[in-house]
Point group: C2
Chain length 710, copies 2
C-alpha cells in the first residue's frame, strides 16, 4: 500500500509538460508509437518534442535520438510505446535521466498472466525507487487539453481534438475513457484532462481522481471504474474532490456476475462486490450512474449548471404541451424518486388565465396553444418559475427546437425566464440541433433528449445537491487484539461481544447436571441448552441444541440426551461443556453480520432473518463502524422494515435496541479488523419496544481461518 499523502502527487507533468519524449516513436501512424507524435504536432503542442528510436534517423520529419540519455535535456514527460520486453529498460532510462512522469502505452503485462505480472512489478519498483510516476502499462494514457499535451494513441483523436472546458475524465479502461471523451466532445462538452490508468502499476484511479480534484481547470470529474485496489486511497481521493467542491460522477463497471467475471479477466484484479462499491461511493459523496450515456448527461448538466443551481430537494414541476408526454414524464419522474407536488393555487390561476383549457395540475399541460400563441410559454414559465413549491422545473418539447417558428418562441421565453430568475434550475427535455443546444447550454439550461434520461439526470442532481456529510470513515477506532479463546465457541464469542456492548441473554456454561440445575435456578425457565465445543460450528446438525426446556425434570432429561446425541453423532469433537441460556420468547429475528472486504475493510450487514435476507436479498450494508443513527437508517432501508414497525397489527419492535446492537457489532468489527474476518449473529431477536434486542447465537471467524477457506 502506498502512503495516503502520495495520492495525486507529481502528476502535473502528465498534463502540462514543457517537453515530451516518445520512446518507440514510429513513422507509421497506425502504430501506437506513431500516433502520439502525429497528434502532438497536428494539434499544436507548444512544448519540445523528442522522438526516441533505437535507429535514430528521422521520424515524422523530426530528428530522433537513439536513447533518452542522448536527449539535450531531461524531458518532463515520457511516452513509452516500445515492445513489452523493452519497457523495463525504457522506464529505468527515463528515471535515470530525471523524467518526472512516464506513460507506458505498451501492453503485455499483468493482463497476460503471471510472467507479465512479474515484469510489471519490476516496473512498479522503478516508480517507487525513483519517485518518477508511471501510468499504465496497458493504458491509453493522458491528455492535457489546455496545453495540448497528448500521451495517447486513442482513435478518438484521429479526426478532432476536444475543446477545452471544465470536465475531466478518468478511467481504468482506455476504451471507455476514450469513448467518453469522444461523446463528450461531440455533445459540446469542454474537456480539461483525460487520464486512463490501465494496469495501474503505480498511478491508480485514486491518483487520477486527485489529479482532477487539484486542477483549477476542472470543475466536474467523470470516472469509469472497474475495480479498486486500495480502499483508503480511493477514500482520500473522493475526499479531495468533495473538499474541492467538485462533483465526482462514477460509472462502476462490473455490476452483474457475468460483468464481474469479465472484469476479472480484463484487469486481473479482484473486483469488489458491487454492493460494497455502492456503499463506498455513496459514503464518499460520489454520484453513481448506470451507463456511459448517463455519465455524460449528468456530467453535462453539472458543467452547464455550475455549483449554484443544484436542487435542494426532489420536488419538480413538469411543463409540457402534450398530455401524453406529461404522463410519460410523471411516470419517469416517479420511477427516479422525484416528486410532482401540486402547484400553489395562485400559480394554477395564473396558468388558467393564460390558457383556460390547460391542465394546471403537475404535469402542467399547456396544450397545443403553445404552438399557435407565442405569449403562452413565457407567461406559464414565469408563473411556475415564481412558485417556490418546486426545487426544479422540467420543460418538455418534442419538436419545437426543430421547427424554426417555434424555436424562436421557445428561445425568447427561455431568455426572459433566465433573466428574471438567473439561478432557477430548469432542465429542458427536448431534442435540439447541436447549435441550438449549445445556445441553450450557454444560457444555463441542461438539455436532455430522452424522458427517462432527463428524469434520471435530475435525480442525480438532486442526490448531489442534497448529499449529506460523508459518513465518518472510522479512522478514530483503534485496533485491539482479542484473546484467541474468543474464537473457540459460541459462549466465548458471545462473551467477547457482550463486553463490546452487544446484548446477550443470561447464560452459563456448565460441566455437570448439578451445575446445570444451579444455572437454571439463577436464570429461570424457559431455557435453551446448547453443546459447547470448539469443533462443532453447526450445533443443530449434531442434535446439539434443545429448545424450550420448562422444568427441572425436562432440564435433566435434555442435558443427558444432548450429550448422548453429540457423543454419538460427533464422537471426535472435544466437548467443553453445555450452554444453559435464557430462552427469548416472541420478537422478530434479525440476521446481523460483518465481513471484511479485501479492499474496503470491515462492512456490517443487517436483514430480517430467514427468507428475507437469504431468498429475497433484503439486506442493508454499510462500512463499519456505524453509529446508532446510521444503524437506524440501515434498518429503515429494509423493505421488510414494516415488520419491525408494527405492520398489520403487530407490536412495534425495539428498533432502537436493534440499532444499538448493529452499531456495537460494527465497532467491534472495526476494532478487531486485524484478526476477525467475519461475524455472524443469527439471530438477533428484537423484542417489543423497550424490551431490548439480544444476540441468541454468535460465530466469530478469525482472519486466518477465512484465508484458509478461500
Amino acid at each position: 500500500m502506498q502512503a495516503l499523502v502520495e495520492v495525486g502527487r507529481g502528476l502535473e507533468a502528465l498534463f502540462s509538460p514543457r517537453s515530451i519524449a516518445i520512446l518507440g516513436a514510429s513513422d507509421d501512424v497506425t502504430k501506437i508509437g506513431g500516433r502520439p507524435l502525429q497528434f502532438l504536432r497536428k494539434y499544436g503542442y507548444a512544448g519540445r518534442i523528442y522522438p526516441v528510436n533505437r535507429k535514430a534517423g528521422v521520424v515524422q520529419t523530426l530528428q530522433a535520438h537513439a536513447s533518452v540519455a542522448d536527449l539535450p535535456e531531461a524531458p518532463e514527460l515520457a511516452v513509452i510505446a516500445v515492445p513489452p520486453e523493452g519497457v523495463l529498460d525504457a522506464v529505468e532510462d527515463c528515471a535515470g535521466r530525471g523524467v518526472r512522469a512516464a506513460v507506458v502505452l505498451s501492453a503485455g503485462f499483468s493482463e497476460m498472466g503471471e510472467e507479465g505480472g512479474r515484469l510489471q512489478a519490476r516496473i512498479a519498483q522503478v516508480a517507487r525507487r525513483s519517485g518518477m510516476r508511471i501510468v499504465g502499462p496497458n493504458c491509453l494514457g493522458a491528455i492535457g487539453v489546455p496545453d495540448r499535451s497528448i500521451a495517447t494513441f486513442s482513435v478518438a483523436l484521429e479526426d478532432t481534438f476536444p475543446a477545452a472546458g471544465p470536465v475531466g475524465i478518468v478511467s481504468q479502461s482506455g476504451n471507455l475513457g476514450s469513448y467518453t471523451l469522444r461523446l463528450a466532445s461531440e455533445r459540446g462538452l469542454g474537456i480539461s484532462r483525460m487520464l486512463t490508468t490501465g494496469n495501474e502499476c503505480d498511478v491508480d484511479i485514486a491518483d487520477a481522481i486527485a489529479s482532477l480534484a487539484t486542477d483549477p481547470g476542472t470543475s466536474v470529474i467523470l470516472c469509469c471504474m472497474e475495480t479498486c485496489r486500495d480502499g483508503a486511497r480511493l477514500h482520500k481521493a473522493m475526499a479531495m474532490a468533495r473538499e474541492a467542491g467538485k462533483p465526482l460522477v462514477v460509472l462502476k463497471v462490473g455490476v452483474s456476475e457475468a460483468g464481474s467475471a469479465a472484469a476479472a479477466s480484463h484487469t486481473g484484479a479482484l473486483a469488489g462486490s458491487d454492493a460494497v462499491f455502492d456503499v463506498v461511493l455513496r459514503n464518499g459523496g460520489a454520484i453513481r450512474v448506470p451507463s456511459i450515456e448517463q455519465l455524460l448527461e449528468v456530467g453535462h448538466a453539472l458543467a452547464v449548471l455550475g455549483p449554484d443551481r443544484l436542487p435542494r430537494g426532489n420536488k419538480v414541476a413538469v411543463l409540457t404541451a402534450s398530455g401524453g408526454f406529461g404522463v410519460l414524464l410523471a411516470d419517469a419522474a416517479s420511477a427516479h424518486g422525484l416528486a410532482l407536488p401540486r402547484l400553489a393555487a395562485p400559480t394554477r390561476e395564473r396558468i388558467l388565465q393564460v390558457v383556460p383549457f390547460a391542465s394546471p395540475a403537475n404535469p402542467v399541460d399547456m396544450t397545443a396553444q403553445v404552438s399557435s400563441r407565442p405569449e403562452v410559454l413565457a407567461k406559464v414559465l414565469a408563473a411556475v418559475a415564481e412558485d417556490d413549491s418546486c426545487d426544479a422545473l422540467v420543460l418538455q418539447s418534442a419538436n419545437a427546437f426543430h421547427v424554426p417558428r417555434l424555436r424562436e418562441v421557445f428561445l425568447t421565453a427561455l431568455a426572459q425566464v433566465r433573466k428574471e430568475h438567473p439561478s432557477r434550475l430548469i432542465v429542458l427535455c427536448a431534442r435540439a440541433p447541436q447549435e441550438v443546444r449549445t445556445q441553450l447550454n450557454a444560457m444555463g439550461f441542461p438539455v436532455v433528449e430522452g424522458i427517462d434520461a432527463a428524469c434520471a439526470t435530475l435525480a442525480a442532481l438532486v442526490h448531489f445537491g442534497a448529499r449529506a456529510e460523508p459518513a465518518s470513515a472510522g479512522a478514530a477506532i483503534e485496533r485491539e487484539t482479542l484473546p484467541a479463546e474468543a474464537f473457540a465457541t459460541e459462549a466465548s464469542a458471545k462473551a467477547a461481544l457482550a463486553r463490546a456492548g452487544l446484548p446477550v441473554l443470561k447464560e452459563a456454561v456448565v460441566a455437570s447436571r448439578d451445575e446445570a440445575l444451579a444455572a437454571a435456578r439463577d436464570i429461570g425457565f424457559p431455557l435453551v441448552l446448547k453443546i459447547v465445543s470448539p469443533d462443532i460450528a453447526h450445533k443443530t446438525e449434531v442434535g446439539g441444541v434443545v429448545m424450550d426446556v420448562r422444568s427441572e425434570g425436562q432440564l435433566i432429561e435434555a442435558y443427558e440426551s444432548l450429550l448422548a446425541r453429540v457423543a454419538h453423532k460427533a464422537p471426535q469433537a472435544r466437548v467443553t461443556g453445555v450452554l444453559v441460556a435464557q430462552m427469548a420468547q416472541g420478537g422478530v429475528e434479525l440476521i446481523l453480520g460483518t465481513r471484511k472486504d479485501p479492499v474496503f475493510g470491515p462492512m456490517v450487514m443487517v436483514g430480517l432473518g430467514g427468507i428475507f435476507a437469504e431468498v429475497l436479498k433484503d439486506v442493508a450494508l454499510q462500512s463499519a463502524p456505524v453509529d446508532e443513527a446510521q444503524a437506524t437508517a440501515m434498518l429503515r432501508s429494509l423493505k421488510a422494515f414494516p415488520l419491525l414497525d408494527g405492520a398489520r397489527g403487530r407490536p412495534k419492535a425495539d428498533v432502537q435496541a436493534a440499532a444499538r446492537a448493529v452499531a456495537a457489532l460494527s465497532c467491534f468489527a472495526a476494532r478487531h479488523a486485524g484478526e476477525v474476518a467475519e461475524i455472524d449473529i443469527n439471530p438477533l431477536v428484537v423484542l417489543e419496544a423497550g424490551k431490548g434486542a439480544f444476540a441468541l447465537d454468535a460465530l466469530l471467524i478469525p482472519e486466518q481461518a477465512e484465508k484458509g477457506k478461500q
Copy 2:
C-alpha cells in the same frame, strides 16, 4: 360496447381515399384547418382535394365549396377542422353525403368536461347510425404514407414527409404519435400508416391496431396506449396482429400513480391498473416497452430483421475490442435477462489462433488488434457466427464507424459474415453516421447506439421470438348464476366455492351446543369456531373466532363465550349459527383472490400471506380463468416461491394442490363474472406435498356491493 366483428372495419378510406374534403379549410397554415390542405398539396397527394368553408371563395389557391352538400362527389374522407360547436353539423353533413370516414381534429369535447362529453356522444351516434367511421375528436388524425393521404395538422410534417416503409404507428395521444413518426423518419425507418385516435368517440385503439394488422404494407406495429375502454376489442385486435404475424410493440403510458393521475386528466378515461395491462398485453403476444426510445429501437430492429431472424432463445455472444465495454455489455445483458454462455471449445481455439492475447470467453475481447490488423474482425466474427451455442451475436464498437479506415474494415467483415450466414441474428451496438447506419440496416443488421438500449432491444426480440401461444381468453367459460345466499356468510361462500372445486376443510354450521358437540365428533379435534352472520364481515374484530379448540370441554366453553362476545360487541348483527371447522396444522399460507377489472374482466391474484403480499407486493396476476399449468407458473413467479419449494430445509409444500385451487377459483370467478365483483381467500393453507391446500376463509363480494362502495 361495439360488436367485435367491427374491429378495424371501414378504415381504408383513412389511408387511401380517392378524394378528401377539408371542412374548415383555411388560408392560414398555422391553423389546424390550414395545415392539412397545405400538406396534401406540398407532398403531392394524387387524389381530389375539396376545401370546404362557409365563405366558399378561394383557399390556398383552390376553389372552396360552402358545404359538403355542394361538392361534385361524395368525398371518401373528410377532415373536420371547424370550431367544436360546428362539429356535429359537419359530421351529419358528411354522413348524409355518403362520406366513408371522417377525422375530427377539433378539440373541446369529453376532455373539457361533461358538456363536451354530451356533445361527443351525439357525434358518436352519427357514426353508429350511419356507419361512417369517425376518428377523434381531439386527435391528430391519420396519414397514409404510400398514397400521401394526410389528415393531420402535426408539426412533424412541417418540413419533411416520412419515407414509405413497413412500420405502422398508432397512438391515442396525438403528440406521442407525431413525435414517434418524426423520430422514426429521422432514424431512416420507413412508415406505412399513422393513426391517432384522441377521444375515441368511434374509432378506438383496437380499430387502429386492426387497421395495421390488415394492411399488407405494414409488417411492424408501434403503439402508444394511454388507456383501453373495451378489453374484448383490444384482445381481438391483438389476435388479428398475431395471426397476421406482425409484431405489436406497445408503449403503455401512465404507469405510476403520478402518471395515472395525469392520464386521467388528459383523456378523461379510467386508466386500467398497470399490472392488469401488463398481463393483458403479454397474453395478447404484444411486446411492452418502457420508453419512446425503446419503442423505436425495437420497431427498428424488427423492421430491419424481418420475421426470419428473430432469436429462438436468450443466449448471446458478445464481441468487443475492449474489456471495459465487454464488462458493461455483460452487465446490461444480465440485467435484461440475457445469458452469455461459454463459447464452444473449437470457437475459442479459432479466436486464439487469430488473436493469441484475446479473451475468448464471452464477452470476447478481440483487443486493440482489431484496429491494426484488418483480418482479425472477419475471422473472429466467422468463428462465433458458426458456433451454434448462441441465439444471437452482439458486436460492439465505440468509434469504428466514425473512423474511415476502420469503417471499411468493419463493413467488409460484416458483408462477408452476412453472405455466409444470411439468417444469423447480429446486433451492432455502435455509433454510426446515418448513411452508414442505413447501409448496415440494408444488410440486415440492427444498429443500436447505447449499451443498455442494445441489450433491452435484444431482450424484446427474444421475448417476441420465444413467445408462447397466447393464454386462452376464457371465451369457452359459460356464465352461470349463483344463489343469492352464497354471498351471505363465510360458510355459504365456502360451500359455493367447494362445489366449484376449491378444497375446504371439514366444517359444519351449528345452532346449539349439542349440534356443536356432534359436529366435533364427526370432524375431530383440533377445531376452530367462527361466528356465522350476514352482518359481520370481519369476524375477529368482534371476537367471533376461537382457534385451537382441543377437547369437548374447551368446545363448550368456546361456544358460549363466542356467542356472548359477539352479542356484546355486535348486538345488532343477525347470528345464524356457529361454524365448527377442522383446524389446519402447519403449512404455508397463501392469499388468493379475484377482482373484476372494469375493462378487462375478472383477474386472479395469488401471493404469500401476510407481509409478502401486503408489504412486499409480491403477488402474481393473470386474467381469469387460468388452467393448472398457468396457475403453477404464477406461483413460480413469486419471489417468495422458495418458501413453498423447500427453502432452508422446510418441507416442500403441495404446489400442485395450490395451483389447482388457484385454477378452480379463477374458473369460478370467470363463470360468475356477471355477479361476483371480488373474492378473497385468506388464507389458503398449503400443506406438505401430497397433503393438499385448503381455503380457511372466504369472502364473496357481489357486483352490486362493489359498485356501492365506489
